[in-house]
Protein backbone atom coordinates (compact mmCIF):
# COMPACT_ATOMS: atom_id res chain seq x y z
CA UNK A 1 0.00 0.00 0.00
CA UNK A 2 1.30 3.48 -0.87
CA UNK A 3 1.74 6.06 1.86
CA UNK A 4 -1.21 8.32 2.51
CA UNK A 5 -2.16 11.13 4.82
CA UNK A 6 -5.05 10.60 7.19
CA UNK A 7 -7.60 13.10 8.50
CA UNK A 8 -10.57 12.84 10.81
CA UNK A 9 -12.66 15.99 10.27
CA UNK A 10 -15.35 16.80 12.81
CA UNK A 11 -17.61 18.87 10.55
CA UNK A 12 -18.84 18.88 6.97
CA UNK A 13 -17.03 22.20 6.39
CA UNK A 14 -13.71 20.62 7.39
CA UNK A 15 -14.49 17.57 5.30
CA UNK A 16 -15.13 19.66 2.17
CA UNK A 17 -11.80 21.45 2.58
CA UNK A 18 -10.01 18.10 2.89
CA UNK A 19 -11.92 16.63 -0.05
CA UNK A 20 -10.74 19.49 -2.28
CA UNK A 21 -7.32 17.78 -2.27
CA UNK A 22 -6.63 15.70 -5.30
CA UNK A 23 -6.87 11.98 -4.84
CA UNK A 24 -8.63 12.14 -1.49
CA UNK A 25 -10.82 9.16 -0.59
CA UNK A 26 -13.52 9.09 2.03
CA UNK A 27 -13.29 6.26 4.55
CA UNK A 28 -16.64 5.25 6.02
CA UNK A 29 -16.75 1.61 7.17
CA UNK A 30 -13.80 0.79 4.93
CA UNK A 31 -15.22 -2.61 3.96
CA UNK A 32 -14.92 -1.76 0.27
CA UNK A 33 -12.13 0.83 0.39
CA UNK A 34 -9.59 -1.02 2.57
CA UNK A 35 -9.49 -4.16 0.38
CA UNK A 36 -9.27 -1.87 -2.69
CA UNK A 37 -6.29 -0.02 -1.19
CA UNK A 38 -4.63 -3.26 -0.07
CA UNK A 39 -4.94 -4.82 -3.50
CA UNK A 40 -3.72 -1.67 -5.22
CA UNK A 41 -7.00 -1.16 -7.08
CA UNK A 42 -7.15 2.33 -5.54
CA UNK A 43 -4.39 4.72 -4.63
CA UNK A 44 -4.98 7.47 -2.13
CA UNK A 45 -2.86 10.48 -1.20
CA UNK A 46 -5.32 11.33 1.54
CA UNK A 47 -7.79 9.14 3.41
CA UNK A 48 -10.55 11.03 5.23
CA UNK A 49 -12.40 9.23 8.02
CA UNK A 50 -16.00 10.56 8.08
CA UNK A 51 -17.23 8.69 11.15
CA UNK A 52 -16.72 11.61 13.54
CA UNK A 53 -18.94 14.05 11.62
CA UNK A 54 -22.27 14.50 13.46
CA UNK A 55 -24.23 15.54 10.32
CA UNK A 56 -23.32 12.26 8.65
CA UNK A 57 -24.23 10.12 11.63
CA UNK A 58 -27.51 9.40 13.31
CA UNK A 59 -31.02 8.60 12.19
CA UNK A 60 -33.75 11.17 12.79
CA UNK A 61 -37.31 11.88 11.81
CA UNK A 62 -37.87 15.32 10.27
CA UNK A 63 -40.99 17.43 10.86
CA UNK A 64 -42.68 16.32 7.64
CA UNK A 65 -42.19 12.65 8.52
CA UNK A 66 -39.11 12.16 6.33
CA UNK A 67 -36.57 9.75 7.82
CA UNK A 68 -33.05 11.13 7.55
CA UNK A 69 -30.24 8.58 7.68
CA UNK A 70 -26.67 9.89 7.85
CA UNK A 71 -24.39 8.53 5.13
CA UNK A 72 -21.99 7.16 7.76
CA UNK A 73 -24.62 5.20 9.70
CA UNK A 74 -23.78 1.50 9.88
CA UNK A 75 -25.87 -1.33 8.49
CA UNK A 76 -26.28 -2.69 12.02
CA UNK A 77 -27.59 0.67 13.30
CA UNK A 78 -30.17 0.77 10.50
CA UNK A 79 -31.19 -2.87 10.91
CA UNK A 80 -31.81 -2.21 14.63
CA UNK A 81 -33.51 1.20 14.29
CA UNK A 82 -37.19 1.05 15.24
CA UNK A 83 -38.31 3.76 12.80
CA UNK A 84 -36.48 2.08 9.92
CA UNK A 85 -37.89 -1.34 10.83
CA UNK A 86 -41.44 0.02 11.09
CA UNK A 87 -41.64 2.27 8.05
CA UNK A 88 -38.83 1.12 5.74
CA UNK A 89 -38.70 -2.59 6.41
CA UNK A 90 -37.22 -3.44 3.01
CA UNK A 91 -34.22 -1.21 3.75
CA UNK A 92 -33.78 -2.54 7.31
CA UNK A 93 -33.82 -6.11 6.01
CA UNK A 94 -31.61 -5.48 2.99
CA UNK A 95 -28.75 -3.92 4.99
CA UNK A 96 -28.86 -7.03 7.19
CA UNK A 97 -27.84 -9.05 4.10
CA UNK A 98 -24.52 -7.22 3.71
CA UNK A 99 -21.69 -9.70 4.37
CA UNK A 100 -21.52 -10.88 7.97
CA UNK A 101 -22.33 -9.28 11.30
CA UNK A 102 -18.71 -8.12 11.54
CA UNK A 103 -19.05 -6.41 8.15
CA UNK A 104 -22.45 -4.90 9.00
CA UNK A 105 -21.02 -3.38 12.17
CA UNK A 106 -18.69 -1.29 9.98
CA UNK A 107 -20.35 -1.03 6.55
CA UNK A 108 -22.33 2.17 6.02
CA UNK A 109 -25.29 3.03 3.82
CA UNK A 110 -23.30 5.84 2.18
CA UNK A 111 -20.44 3.45 1.41
CA UNK A 112 -22.78 0.90 -0.13
CA UNK A 113 -24.25 3.58 -2.41
CA UNK A 114 -21.01 5.44 -3.26
CA UNK A 115 -19.12 2.24 -4.03
CA UNK A 116 -21.86 1.90 -6.67
CA UNK A 117 -21.61 -1.84 -7.24
CA UNK A 118 -24.49 -3.01 -9.45
CA UNK A 119 -24.96 -5.77 -6.84
CA UNK A 120 -25.14 -3.43 -3.82
CA UNK A 121 -27.93 -4.81 -1.65
CA UNK A 122 -29.15 -1.58 -0.04
CA UNK A 123 -29.76 0.33 -3.27
CA UNK A 124 -32.96 -1.29 -4.61
CA UNK A 125 -34.81 -0.58 -1.34
CA UNK A 126 -33.66 3.06 -1.39
CA UNK A 127 -34.94 3.38 -4.96
CA UNK A 128 -38.26 1.76 -4.00
CA UNK A 129 -38.85 4.35 -1.27
CA UNK A 130 -37.92 7.25 -3.63
CA UNK A 131 -35.01 8.09 -1.32
CA UNK A 132 -33.09 11.30 -2.03
CA UNK A 133 -29.35 11.72 -1.57
CA UNK A 134 -28.26 14.94 0.10
CA UNK A 135 -24.99 15.99 -1.51
CA UNK A 136 -22.59 18.79 -0.68
CA UNK A 137 -19.52 20.03 -2.53
CA UNK A 138 -17.52 23.06 -3.59
CA UNK A 139 -20.52 24.39 -5.52
CA UNK A 140 -22.97 24.02 -2.67
CA UNK A 141 -25.72 21.59 -1.82
CA UNK A 142 -28.05 19.56 -3.97
CA UNK A 143 -30.52 16.76 -3.53
CA UNK A 144 -31.11 14.08 -6.11
CA UNK A 145 -32.98 10.81 -6.27
CA UNK A 146 -30.74 7.87 -5.36
CA UNK A 147 -32.03 6.28 -8.54
CA UNK A 148 -30.30 8.99 -10.62
CA UNK A 149 -26.91 8.73 -8.87
CA UNK A 150 -25.35 5.93 -10.86
CA UNK A 151 -23.49 6.32 -14.13
CA UNK A 152 -21.74 2.95 -14.43
CA UNK A 153 -20.22 0.12 -12.41
CA UNK A 154 -18.42 1.78 -9.47
CA UNK A 155 -19.32 5.25 -10.74
CA UNK A 156 -21.70 7.93 -9.50
CA UNK A 157 -22.42 11.42 -10.72
CA UNK A 158 -20.79 12.99 -7.62
CA UNK A 159 -18.06 15.35 -8.80
CA UNK A 160 -14.63 15.10 -7.14
CA UNK A 161 -15.40 17.84 -4.60
CA UNK A 162 -18.74 16.34 -3.59
CA UNK A 163 -19.67 14.06 -0.73
CA UNK A 164 -22.89 12.34 0.21
CA UNK A 165 -24.17 13.69 3.52
CA UNK A 166 -27.39 11.80 4.16
CA UNK A 167 -30.35 9.96 2.73
CA UNK A 168 -33.87 11.35 2.95
CA UNK A 169 -36.63 8.76 2.90
CA UNK A 170 -40.01 10.39 2.28
CA UNK A 171 -42.98 9.48 4.45
CA UNK A 172 -44.78 6.60 2.73
CA UNK A 173 -48.54 6.63 2.20
CA UNK A 174 -50.47 4.50 4.63
CA UNK A 175 -51.07 1.36 2.63
CA UNK A 176 -47.53 0.91 1.41
CA UNK A 177 -45.25 -2.09 1.68
CA UNK A 178 -41.98 -3.09 0.11
CA UNK A 179 -39.59 -6.02 0.08
CA UNK A 180 -36.11 -6.83 -1.21
CA UNK A 181 -34.86 -10.31 -2.02
CA UNK A 182 -31.69 -11.51 -3.65
CA UNK A 183 -30.52 -14.81 -4.99
CA UNK A 184 -27.14 -16.10 -3.83
CA UNK A 185 -25.81 -19.66 -3.96
CA UNK A 186 -24.82 -19.31 -0.29
CA UNK A 187 -27.30 -17.75 2.12
CA UNK A 188 -24.76 -15.42 3.72
CA UNK A 189 -21.49 -13.85 2.63
CA UNK A 190 -22.19 -13.89 -1.07
CA UNK A 191 -22.80 -11.43 -3.90
CA UNK A 192 -26.28 -11.29 -5.42
CA UNK A 193 -26.59 -13.08 -8.76
CA UNK A 194 -29.74 -10.99 -9.03
CA UNK A 195 -31.75 -8.90 -6.56
CA UNK A 196 -35.18 -7.28 -6.76
CA UNK A 197 -36.83 -4.66 -4.57
CA UNK A 198 -40.55 -3.97 -5.01
CA UNK A 199 -42.88 -1.47 -3.44
CA UNK A 200 -46.62 -1.05 -3.88
CA UNK A 201 -49.03 1.49 -2.43
CA UNK A 202 -52.75 0.75 -2.43
CA UNK A 203 -55.75 3.08 -2.35
CA UNK A 204 -58.80 2.49 -0.12
CA UNK A 205 -60.28 0.13 -2.72
CA UNK A 206 -57.14 -1.95 -2.84
CA UNK A 207 -55.97 -0.68 -6.21
CA UNK A 208 -52.26 -0.13 -6.83
CA UNK A 209 -51.67 3.62 -7.01
CA UNK A 210 -47.89 3.56 -6.93
CA UNK A 211 -45.39 0.84 -7.79
CA UNK A 212 -41.63 0.61 -7.83
CA UNK A 213 -39.52 -2.28 -9.02
CA UNK A 214 -35.73 -1.92 -8.72
CA UNK A 215 -33.15 -4.45 -9.86
CA UNK A 216 -29.64 -5.31 -8.66
CA UNK A 217 -26.85 -7.21 -10.42
CA UNK A 218 -28.57 -7.27 -13.80
CA UNK A 219 -27.11 -4.17 -15.46
CA UNK A 220 -24.17 -1.78 -15.28
CA UNK A 221 -25.97 0.14 -12.52
CA UNK A 222 -28.92 -0.58 -10.25
CA UNK A 223 -31.99 -0.27 -12.51
CA UNK A 224 -35.63 0.64 -12.30
CA UNK A 225 -37.94 -1.77 -14.09
CA UNK A 226 -40.29 0.77 -15.67
CA UNK A 227 -42.39 -1.62 -17.71
CA UNK A 228 -42.98 -3.87 -14.69
CA UNK A 229 -44.24 -0.81 -12.81
CA UNK A 230 -46.58 0.01 -15.73
CA UNK A 231 -48.05 -3.48 -15.57
CA UNK A 232 -48.87 -2.98 -11.88
CA UNK A 233 -50.38 0.52 -11.98
CA UNK A 234 -54.12 0.87 -11.43
CA UNK A 235 -54.58 -2.87 -11.02
CA UNK A 236 -55.52 -4.96 -8.02
CA UNK A 237 -52.89 -7.31 -6.59
CA UNK A 238 -53.20 -10.87 -7.89
CA UNK A 239 -50.78 -13.68 -8.56
CA UNK A 240 -51.58 -13.38 -12.26
CA UNK A 241 -50.67 -9.68 -12.20
CA UNK A 242 -47.40 -10.34 -10.35
CA UNK A 243 -46.53 -13.06 -12.84
CA UNK A 244 -46.94 -10.51 -15.65
CA UNK A 245 -44.93 -7.91 -13.74
CA UNK A 246 -42.15 -10.48 -13.32
CA UNK A 247 -42.08 -11.18 -17.05
CA UNK A 248 -41.89 -7.43 -17.75
CA UNK A 249 -39.12 -6.93 -15.16
CA UNK A 250 -37.05 -9.67 -16.78
CA UNK A 251 -37.26 -7.69 -20.03
CA UNK A 252 -36.27 -4.48 -18.26
CA UNK A 253 -33.10 -6.16 -16.97
CA UNK A 254 -29.93 -5.99 -19.06
CA UNK A 255 -27.76 -8.67 -17.49
CA UNK A 256 -24.41 -10.01 -18.58
CA UNK A 257 -23.23 -13.60 -18.43
CA UNK A 258 -20.38 -14.26 -16.03
CA UNK A 259 -19.13 -16.92 -13.63
CA UNK A 260 -22.03 -16.27 -11.28
CA UNK A 261 -24.75 -16.82 -13.84
CA UNK A 262 -25.77 -16.50 -17.47
CA UNK A 263 -27.82 -13.56 -18.70
CA UNK A 264 -30.75 -15.86 -19.35
CA UNK A 265 -30.59 -17.32 -15.84
CA UNK A 266 -30.44 -13.84 -14.35
CA UNK A 267 -33.54 -12.76 -16.26
CA UNK A 268 -35.33 -15.82 -14.93
CA UNK A 269 -34.24 -14.92 -11.38
CA UNK A 270 -35.54 -11.38 -11.86
CA UNK A 271 -38.98 -12.61 -12.84
CA UNK A 272 -39.17 -15.00 -9.87
CA UNK A 273 -37.81 -12.49 -7.32
CA UNK A 274 -40.10 -9.77 -8.66
CA UNK A 275 -43.13 -12.00 -8.17
CA UNK A 276 -41.98 -13.04 -4.68
CA UNK A 277 -41.22 -9.54 -3.45
CA UNK A 278 -44.58 -8.28 -4.70
CA UNK A 279 -46.33 -11.18 -2.97
CA UNK A 280 -44.41 -10.49 0.21
CA UNK A 281 -45.32 -6.78 0.16
CA UNK A 282 -48.96 -7.64 -0.53
CA UNK A 283 -48.99 -10.16 2.31
CA UNK A 284 -47.83 -7.49 4.66
CA UNK A 285 -50.57 -5.12 3.49
CA UNK A 286 -53.40 -7.59 3.54
CA UNK A 287 -52.15 -9.16 6.78
CA UNK A 288 -53.00 -12.70 5.81
CA UNK A 289 -51.57 -15.40 3.67
CA UNK A 290 -51.90 -14.49 0.11
CA UNK A 291 -50.77 -16.51 -2.87
Amino acid sequence: MELFNFQTPSSVAELLIAKANTNAWLLAGGTDLIPQLKEGRRKADLVIDIKKIPAMNGISELEDGTLRIGAAVSATAIAQNVDAIRSYAALASSVALIGSRQVQNRATLGGNVCNAAPSADAIPALICYDAMAEIEGAEGKREILVEDLFTGPGRTQLNPTEVLISFLLPLQSERTAAAYQRFTPRREMDIAVAGVGSRISLDADGKIIAARVALASVGPTPLRAASAECVLMDESPSSQLFEEAGVAAAQDASPISDTRGSAEYRRHLVSVLCKRTLASATNELLQDTWT
Partner: protein, 158 residues
Protein backbone atom coordinates in the same frame (compact mmCIF):
# COMPACT_ATOMS: atom_id res chain seq x y z
CA UNK B 1 5.67 11.28 8.21
CA UNK B 2 3.55 8.18 7.98
CA UNK B 3 3.65 7.60 11.73
CA UNK B 4 0.96 8.43 14.17
CA UNK B 5 0.51 7.99 17.90
CA UNK B 6 -2.41 5.73 18.73
CA UNK B 7 -4.00 5.71 22.15
CA UNK B 8 -6.43 2.94 22.85
CA UNK B 9 -7.29 0.34 25.43
CA UNK B 10 -6.58 -3.29 24.63
CA UNK B 11 -7.99 -5.93 26.98
CA UNK B 12 -8.38 -3.28 29.66
CA UNK B 13 -4.82 -2.02 29.41
CA UNK B 14 -4.13 1.50 28.13
CA UNK B 15 -1.79 1.43 25.13
CA UNK B 16 0.10 4.20 23.44
CA UNK B 17 1.92 3.15 20.31
CA UNK B 18 3.60 4.63 17.32
CA UNK B 19 1.90 3.17 14.27
CA UNK B 20 2.13 3.37 10.51
CA UNK B 21 -1.12 4.73 9.07
CA UNK B 22 -1.26 1.86 6.64
CA UNK B 23 -1.31 -0.72 9.43
CA UNK B 24 -4.54 -2.55 9.91
CA UNK B 25 -5.77 -3.13 13.43
CA UNK B 26 -4.85 -6.78 12.87
CA UNK B 27 -1.23 -5.87 12.14
CA UNK B 28 -1.09 -3.68 15.22
CA UNK B 29 -2.40 -6.45 17.44
CA UNK B 30 -0.28 -9.27 16.08
CA UNK B 31 2.99 -7.55 15.27
CA UNK B 32 3.33 -4.67 17.65
CA UNK B 33 1.38 -5.90 20.66
CA UNK B 34 2.30 -9.57 20.09
CA UNK B 35 -1.32 -10.60 20.60
CA UNK B 36 -1.12 -13.45 18.12
CA UNK B 37 -4.31 -15.16 19.25
CA UNK B 38 -6.11 -13.09 16.62
CA UNK B 39 -5.49 -14.83 13.28
CA UNK B 40 -5.20 -13.71 9.70
CA UNK B 41 -6.89 -15.99 7.20
CA UNK B 42 -7.96 -14.02 4.14
CA UNK B 43 -7.09 -10.42 4.97
CA UNK B 44 -10.22 -9.13 3.22
CA UNK B 45 -13.20 -9.64 5.50
CA UNK B 46 -14.31 -13.03 4.29
CA UNK B 47 -13.13 -15.53 6.90
CA UNK B 48 -13.65 -13.89 10.31
CA UNK B 49 -10.51 -15.40 11.89
CA UNK B 50 -9.37 -11.84 12.74
CA UNK B 51 -12.57 -10.95 14.64
CA UNK B 52 -12.12 -8.70 17.68
CA UNK B 53 -14.51 -6.48 19.64
CA UNK B 54 -14.13 -2.72 19.26
CA UNK B 55 -16.39 -0.58 21.45
CA UNK B 56 -18.82 -3.48 21.98
CA UNK B 57 -19.06 -4.36 18.28
CA UNK B 58 -17.46 -7.34 16.56
CA UNK B 59 -15.32 -6.31 13.60
CA UNK B 60 -12.84 -7.90 11.24
CA UNK B 61 -9.57 -6.36 12.40
CA UNK B 62 -8.14 -6.82 8.89
CA UNK B 63 -10.80 -4.40 7.60
CA UNK B 64 -9.98 -1.55 9.91
CA UNK B 65 -6.98 0.74 9.98
CA UNK B 66 -5.25 0.90 13.36
CA UNK B 67 -5.64 4.71 13.31
CA UNK B 68 -9.41 4.22 13.33
CA UNK B 69 -9.08 2.67 16.80
CA UNK B 70 -8.02 5.98 18.35
CA UNK B 71 -9.57 6.15 21.87
CA UNK B 72 -11.39 2.86 21.35
CA UNK B 73 -11.76 -0.09 23.71
CA UNK B 74 -10.57 -3.27 22.08
CA UNK B 75 -11.04 -6.82 23.32
CA UNK B 76 -9.15 -9.67 21.69
CA UNK B 77 -9.27 -13.39 22.41
CA UNK B 78 -6.53 -12.86 25.00
CA UNK B 79 -8.92 -10.66 26.99
CA UNK B 80 -11.91 -12.98 27.02
CA UNK B 81 -11.04 -15.34 29.89
CA UNK B 82 -10.72 -13.90 33.36
CA UNK B 83 -7.72 -14.94 35.41
CA UNK B 84 -7.72 -18.71 35.63
CA UNK B 85 -11.24 -19.03 34.32
CA UNK B 86 -12.38 -19.58 30.77
CA UNK B 87 -15.42 -17.77 29.35
CA UNK B 88 -18.50 -20.01 29.17
CA UNK B 89 -18.29 -19.86 25.36
CA UNK B 90 -14.77 -21.30 25.54
CA UNK B 91 -15.86 -23.97 28.06
CA UNK B 92 -18.73 -25.01 25.80
CA UNK B 93 -16.56 -25.24 22.68
CA UNK B 94 -14.20 -27.56 24.56
CA UNK B 95 -17.03 -29.64 26.01
CA UNK B 96 -18.73 -30.12 22.63
CA UNK B 97 -15.60 -30.51 20.52
CA UNK B 98 -16.38 -27.29 18.66
CA UNK B 99 -12.74 -26.79 17.79
CA UNK B 100 -10.31 -28.93 15.81
CA UNK B 101 -7.26 -27.27 14.25
CA UNK B 102 -8.26 -24.15 16.18
CA UNK B 103 -7.42 -21.55 13.55
CA UNK B 104 -10.96 -20.20 13.34
CA UNK B 105 -11.64 -20.61 17.06
CA UNK B 106 -10.52 -17.19 18.36
CA UNK B 107 -12.75 -15.52 15.78
CA UNK B 108 -15.67 -17.82 16.55
CA UNK B 109 -15.29 -17.10 20.27
CA UNK B 110 -15.28 -13.33 19.65
CA UNK B 111 -18.40 -13.50 17.46
CA UNK B 112 -20.14 -15.61 20.10
CA UNK B 113 -19.08 -13.32 22.95
CA UNK B 114 -20.48 -10.40 20.91
CA UNK B 115 -23.73 -12.28 20.33
CA UNK B 116 -24.29 -13.19 23.99
CA UNK B 117 -23.50 -9.66 25.14
CA UNK B 118 -26.33 -8.44 22.91
CA UNK B 119 -28.75 -11.34 23.28
CA UNK B 120 -28.35 -13.71 26.24
CA UNK B 121 -30.75 -16.31 24.83
CA UNK B 122 -30.36 -16.52 21.06
CA UNK B 123 -32.05 -19.29 19.11
CA UNK B 124 -30.31 -21.53 16.60
CA UNK B 125 -30.88 -19.20 13.67
CA UNK B 126 -29.54 -16.21 15.64
CA UNK B 127 -26.47 -18.29 16.43
CA UNK B 128 -25.92 -19.42 12.85
CA UNK B 129 -26.30 -15.82 11.64
CA UNK B 130 -23.86 -14.52 14.26
CA UNK B 131 -21.12 -16.92 13.11
CA UNK B 132 -21.92 -16.74 9.38
CA UNK B 133 -18.83 -14.59 8.91
CA UNK B 134 -16.55 -17.13 10.60
CA UNK B 135 -15.33 -19.77 8.21
CA UNK B 136 -14.29 -23.13 9.67
CA UNK B 137 -12.53 -25.74 7.52
CA UNK B 138 -12.71 -28.48 10.12
CA UNK B 139 -15.79 -28.86 12.27
CA UNK B 140 -18.62 -28.61 9.77
CA UNK B 141 -20.13 -26.07 12.22
CA UNK B 142 -22.52 -28.53 13.88
CA UNK B 143 -20.46 -28.85 17.04
CA UNK B 144 -19.86 -25.11 17.20
CA UNK B 145 -23.61 -24.49 16.95
CA UNK B 146 -24.30 -27.18 19.55
CA UNK B 147 -21.81 -25.61 21.92
CA UNK B 148 -23.35 -22.15 21.51
CA UNK B 149 -26.86 -23.56 21.93
CA UNK B 150 -25.64 -25.02 25.21
CA UNK B 151 -24.45 -21.58 26.32
CA UNK B 152 -27.78 -20.04 25.27
CA UNK B 153 -29.80 -22.62 27.15
CA UNK B 154 -27.69 -24.79 29.45
CA UNK B 155 -30.77 -26.73 30.60
CA UNK B 156 -31.98 -27.36 27.05
CA UNK B 157 -32.35 -30.96 25.92
CA UNK B 158 -29.53 -32.16 23.65
Amino acid sequence: MSKEILECSVNGEQQSCLIDRRDTLLELLRTRLQLTGTKEGCGNGNCGSCTVIVDSQTVCSCLMFAVEAQDCEITTIEGVASVGELHRVQEALIKHGGTQCGFCTPGVVMSAVGLFAENPSPNESDIRLAIAGNICRCTGYEKIVKALMDVADPKGAD
